[in-house]
């Protein structure tokens, strides 16, 4: 995490009353309105907000890359005292290469796949600086690769982009941006495409960069936790406007805008709990740019809305007198009494799990791969096995939520496929309500069997067929599972399902493209529950949604689960969310289960070293949380050629010796039902300090604030 009390240099970038619009078929659409920002040398400013709030547009405007249909319609961007819109194309080109650099979400898209990385890096000084020799350029490239902590820079230099992992690619992209020693770095969701443990490394690197290179950074993210770890100041954006601005700790601890408050209510912070303190989604939807309300854009969704005040003129930013630099765009900034505001949702009874529904024992899934190369022919090794799942054993009970946690490539999707019958298990058993379905492909299952185990998918934009209406897709499922066959009854059931997921009934006639991401995901949930399933596999159902929408969808999913006493198998990489909603957690790594137990057991010592690293990698948007930093080195091994012994031994920070490389780790039973697969003795694992610790902040000097604010905290 960045140290919070640093001195910064002169102002390098200033946005003054910036207004940006896009011009489309539908007319002018204001994307960013009245945006002010000051960035000092060495400072890192975060832009945070949900999709469509204009954060990327700001970055593109700073780069002067708005494209044909976008333009700055008001205000100015001043870079080192010069108005950027008055610069010529040539000046801008010089600036972009030398002083301002941008890093995008997809590292692979920023690297040329047909050029060696060394050459691509060397091009930066060779093209942008006069009199640089090849040797000098190569030396500088190697140096900068080392400074982004890539192991073996020389090997990276002679590799092509596809030969290194995604995290390493992103490091190379950052290195490339740093080569020209820019004074301004724009990072647009630089870690969103990466796994959490890889992300942690990149975040650490970014946090250090400002200090070592004294670079000013604009960090764009939808993740409040990442902003806390990387930024000094933060701008919270909503529908094209900054609604709150200030130092990260001030905004996070003493937020004043109802939207900021709402955002924090939507994210599963360590204190949240699905029964006692559920998440509170922000009601309503983000207004479309051409349908923004008068006055405060957040008005229709705000609990403190006052007709006649909030819906009149445009709301200016108000500075908080007690916190210089902290300002908020709310007319009621000084009068809302947060102490009486109860942001907690409706708490519910804890539900006792019922009888066992799913029982998986020693399930293996190997894929055969035929190698037709001559070398394989000579060696006689024509068939290789991809060990996607190895010795999977766990149980799930009625109305229980079991989370399966792991990063990409850990075999969670294969597990889901085998359960759904799209693949059959190589070995072992999957007993679902008394029947072994491990080797029963979906074609051989009865409609009731299929309907009783269904899935909710990850990508809202892909989960519904764009060619058919919502109603016809739901009706198909109902008929297919034999729930109803009479057209009127099918229609009624479709309506019931839409009611169940809290969508208006006329959505049945709509097509998926007329729905927002959250609405599509609701239809996806309705589809999964059409056959009255007793088990639902949810594969990252909210990871592609904005936080406020995700909170609503998560809440809905849990409501329905409670109502129907459904068993939920929740596949996720988001440990905060898992801690919030799961009863049991299964941690997977490279096709193996490394740890499983109840949520409390898994989130407290003893940990498997991988669980420990995962926990420490998750960014948490709470200033009172202190975490251990564990950065995993190395690359995820391939499942075609997994390491011998413990699958985690190549990256394990706590490897104890040769035994890890040669022998499969034993399954230690830490307590009844809590299993850890590790060679390290239990006593030693138990001795580890917890990764996430809530620090009591009372010993710190609290910032000056009005008396009633204290009561709210």
């Amino acid at each position: 995490m960045r140290s919070k009390n640093r001195e910064f240099g002169e102002v390098i970038l200033e946005c003054k009353k910036l207004c940006i619009s896009y011009f489309t078929r539908a007319g002018e659409i204001p994307a960013v309105i009245d945006f002010d920002m000051k960035l000092h040398q060495g400072e890192s400013v975060g832009l945070v907000g949900e999709s469509g709030c204009g954060k990327s547009t700001v970055a593109l405007a700073i780069m002067q890359y708005l494209g044909n249909n976008g333009g700055i319609v008001g205000g100015e961007i001043v870079y080192r005292g010069r108005n950027m819109s008055e610069m010529s194309e040539e000046e801008l080109r010089q600036l972009r290469g030398n002083e301002i650099a941008m890093i995008y979400q997809e590292p692979m898209a920023s690297l040329n796949p047909s050029m060696k990385l060394g050459r691509q890096l060397m091009e930066v000084p060779l093209f942008h600086e006069v009199g640089v020799t090849e040797a000098e350029a190569a030396e500088r490239a190697e140096h900068v690769l080392a400074s982004v902590k890539l192991p073996d820079p020389r090997r990276v230099m002679s590799s092509y982009p596809h030969q290194i992992s995604g995290g390493q690619q992103q490091r190379v992209v950052i290195a490339m941006a740093l080569l020209s020693n820019p004074s301004l770095l724009l990072l647009d969701e630089p870690t969103t495409a990466l796994d959490v443990t890889v992300e942690a490394g990149i975040v650490d690197l970014i946090a250090e960069l400002g200090e070592t290179f004294n670079t000013g950074m604009v960090f764009i993210s939808h993740n409040l936790g990442l902003i806390l770890e990387t930024c000094d100041r933060v701008n919270v954006m909503y529908s094209g406007e900054v609604v709150e601005e200030g130092r990260v700790d001030e905004v996070f601890d003493h937020m004043r805008h109802p939207y900021t408050r709402g955002l924090f209510g939507c994210i599963p912070l360590p204190g949240a709990d699905k029964t006692a303190r559920p998440l509170v989604p922000i009601r309503g939807q983000l207004p479309l740019p051409h349908q923004r309300p008068r006055g405060c854009y957040f008005g229709p969704r705000c609990d403190f809305f006052q007709g006649g005040r909030c819906d009149q003129a445009q709301i200016p930013m108000h500075d908080l007198p007690e916190q210089p630099g902290h300002s908020v765009r709310c007319v009621r900034w000084n009068e809302i009494d947060w102490s009486t505001y109860n942001p907690e949702g409706v708490s519910t009874e804890v539900i006792e799990p019922g009888p066992e529904v799913l029982h998986i024992r020693d399930m293996r899934k190997y894929y055969e791969q035929h190698d037709n190369s001559i070398a394989a022919l000579i060696q006689g090794k024509r068939t290789r096995y991809v060990k996607a799942n190895e010795r999977i054993s766990f149980d799930a009970r009625e109305s229980q939520t079991v989370a399966i946690v792991g990063e990409s490539g850990c075999g969670k999707s294969t597990l889901a496929k085998v359960m759904m019958g799209l693949e059959t298990a190589t070995e072992g058993e999957i007993v679902f309500r008394g029947n072994d379905v491990a080797e029963k492909a979906v074609e051989t299952r009865s409609p009731e069997e299929i309907g009783s185990m269904q899935m909710v998918f990850q990508n809202p934009f892909d989960t519904l067929n764009p060619s058919h209406t919502v109603g016809s897709q739901l009706a198909r499922v109902i008929r297919k599972f034999g729930v109803e066959s009479d057209p009127d009854k099918v229609h009624n059931r479709v309506m019931e399902l839409l009611d169940l997921v809290k969508l208006p009934r006329d959505f049945a006639r709509r097509r998926p493209r007329q729905l927002s991401g959250g609405q599509k995901q609701r239809v996806g949930i309705a589809r999964a529950f059409a056959g009255n399933p007793s088990l639902v596999v949810a594969d990252e159902p909210v990871s592609a949604l904005d936080v406020s929408v995700a909170a609503a969808v998560t809440g809905l999913l849990m409501d329905i689960q409670r109502q129907y006493r459904t068993t939920l198998l929740f596949i996720s990489h988001d440990l905060s969310l898992v801690r919030y909603l799961a009863d049991r957690v299964v941690v997977m790594y490279l096709g193996n289960i490394v740890e499983q137990g109840t949520t409390d057991e898994v989130f407290a010592p003893p940990y498997h070293p991988y669980t420990e690293a995962l926990l420490s990698a998750v960014p948490i948007a709470d200033t009172s949380i202190e975490k251990k930093r564990i950065i995993l080195e190395g690359v995820l091994p391939s499942v075609v050629n997994p390491p011998k012994g413990c699958p985690f031994n190549t990256r394990c920070p706590r490897k104890i010796g040769d035994i890890c490389e040669t022998e499969k780790p034993p399954e230690i039973e830490a307590s009844s039902g809590h299993m850890i697969a590790c060679h390290i003795p239990l006593e030693e694992l138990e001795a580890v300090a917890p990764v996430i610790v809530q620090v009591d902040k009372s010993d710190e000097t609290p910032p000056p604030e009005p008396a009633r604010e204290n009561a709210a905290e």
């Binding site: 899935m455 989960t463 067929n465 060619s467 599972f481 729905l515």
Partner: protein, 329 residues
């Protein structure tokens, strides 16, 4: 910005309305409008050809009148003459000229594009030629798609052996120069409309298969296909209901391009004498018929060439326009 389209509640529209709304989007592409005008011109001509004939605006295409008339020359008949295609004696169907050099003769119409060596009206033959080509080309294209789409869907969805076999067959066919293939097929089967359709289908289906296979390979990884699989849908349903409707955009664009190509092919077959059997007018046949006289009477050859090119160009521009419109937003 995608959210804008999203809020337009067009929930209650039927498929037909949406189709025409889609077509109406074409007006945003100039290229597309140009293509549509060219294609519509020939389609109207072909559809209304028989009406025009009945109204006396066209001559019967195979009737022999006056040979070697230049374009725009008037059809002047002597009293007492009679022509097969006029529907009666000159005195009854034509109008008497009452003044000028041709006084006493009869005016029977204008050869807008002149007549050929045999004395047939070129414009009439062109219009009836359009009728034929616009009958056979769509049928041949649809036939090629009817064969290519199932092959492509199966190959792209099943992969593995199915894909290997189907792609192998397709590649073998594609490896032949298409013209050689046509010549062989038509020489063996004989020249008739059905055989032209057969030949075109055989030669085009592998191309169609490749396109559909590519799209299917992408679409099969979508989650809605996965969802259909997990509820145990039969194969045909996954292919035809889940995948195919989502491939329609690229398929329609490709169909327009392919239609142009089929028209050229039919023309080329006619040019080689392998096309639709004479004496009915066929553009390819018209081009080749009086090719030897191109220096003396260029219009006989050039006019059908222009007709053929304009129709093909029309389809190509239409395809470009559709693509342009479909890529917007």
């Amino acid at each position: 910005m995608t959210d804008i389209a999203l809020q337009k509640t067009e929930a209650r529209e039927s498929g037909i309305v949406r189709f025409f709304k889609g077509v109406a989007l074409l007006r945003e592409s100039r290229v597309g409008i140009a293509g549509a005008i060219l294609v519509l011109f020939w389609v109207l001509m072909a559809v209304l050809a028989d009406v025009f004939l009945a109204l006396g605006l066209l001559f019967p295409p195979n009737s022999i009148f006056v040979p070697l008339m230049e374009p725009l020359s008037e059809f002047i008949a002597e009293p007492g003459q009679s022509f097969d295609g006029l529907g009666g004696p000159v005195e009854e169907v034509c109008s008497l000229i009452t003044s000028g050099a041709n006084e006493g003769k009869y005016y029977c119409g204008t050869f807008w594009l002149g007549t050929d060596m045999l004395g047939r009206d070129l414009w009439s033959r062109l219009v009836f030629g359009a009728q034929r080509v616009l009958f056979y080309a769509p049928i041949a294209t649809i036939a090629a798609y009817a064969v290519g789409i199932p092959m492509g869907l199966a190959a792209g969805y099943k992969r593995g052996k199915t894909d290997d076999i189907l792609s192998y067959i397709g590649n073998v066919i594609l490896a032949f120069p298409p013209m050689v293939l046509f010549v062989v097929i038509i020489s063996v089967l004989g020249s008739s409309g059905v055989n032209v359709i057969l030949a075109v289908t055989l030669a085009s289906a592998p191309g169609v298969m490749r396109i559909v296979r590519g799209i299917t390979m992408d679409l099969r990884n979508r989650e809605y296909v996965f969802a259909a699989e997990t509820r145990g849908e039969p194969l045909w349903r996954i292919l035809l209901i889940e995948i195919l409707p989502n491939a329609r955009g690229p398929i329609i664009v490709d169909a327009m391009l392919r239609m142009g190509y089929v028209i050229i092919t039919i023309g080329a077959l006619g040019f080689l004498g392998l096309g639709l059997p004479p004496p009915d007018p066929d553009w390819g046949g018209m081009i080749t018929e009086f090719r030897a006289m191109i220096i003396a009477f260029p219009y006989m050859t050039v006019v059908p060439c222009i007709a053929l090119s304009s129709l093909v160009l029309g389809f190509n521009l239409l395809a470009d326009g559709l693509r342009e419109v479909s890529l917007r937003d």
